[in-house]
Symmetry: C2
Subunit: 98 residues, 2 copies
């Protein structure tokens, strides 16, 4: 297998899925973001966004904190250091492959 193709075969599938790639890209640029912001920026519906976030949380890439702002429930998302490192590696491999 040539090295370019190997880079593709080794791409992190958790990050590669376009919905999750949007989420991780957005979170990599900010300290933290709330659910509604992500929903607006990605154009994903609530259910799809939730399911992608759960998968990212399971992988240890995203931290999900639920709280209240006054009486309004708020969900705040953050890329973990593991997630940031995984995204950096993903970008490196993909750039090399392209």
């Amino acid at each position: 297998m040539n090295p370019l193709i190997r880079n593709i075969s080794e791409l992190d599938r958790v990050i590669h899925e376009p919905g999750r790639l949007m989420i991780v890209s957005l979170l990599s640029a900010v300290e933290a973001a709330d659910f509604l912001y992500l929903q607006h920026e990605t154009g994903l519906n609530k259910g799809t966004l939730s399911s992608h976030l759960s998968k990212l949380e399971e992988a240890g890439y995203v931290e999900i904190a639920k709280s209240f702002r006054g009486k309004v429930p708020q969900t705040v998302l953050k890329l973990t250091p593991t997630g940031a490192e995984a995204f950096e590696q993903y970008r490196r491999k993909l750039k090399a492959a392209l």
Copy 2:
């Protein structure tokens, strides 16, 4: 939606899947390739490779020609002009997003 995120949301899903991305990358570098060469270079098993190729053929991205070399059946794969253009667009969007 910011333009970087829009590029991700518009990525061609037929090409984005890593198995198919390997195939299209390989085919973009050669005039034509046979099935066994692709199998060897991608490390995909026969069934998975066949199924990816069918999907690429349905999209009009790959041309599949079956023939015989003496008595040995041979399957030759080629990127179509449509496939080449789609891959070029895909690369452009992804590079911009990264």
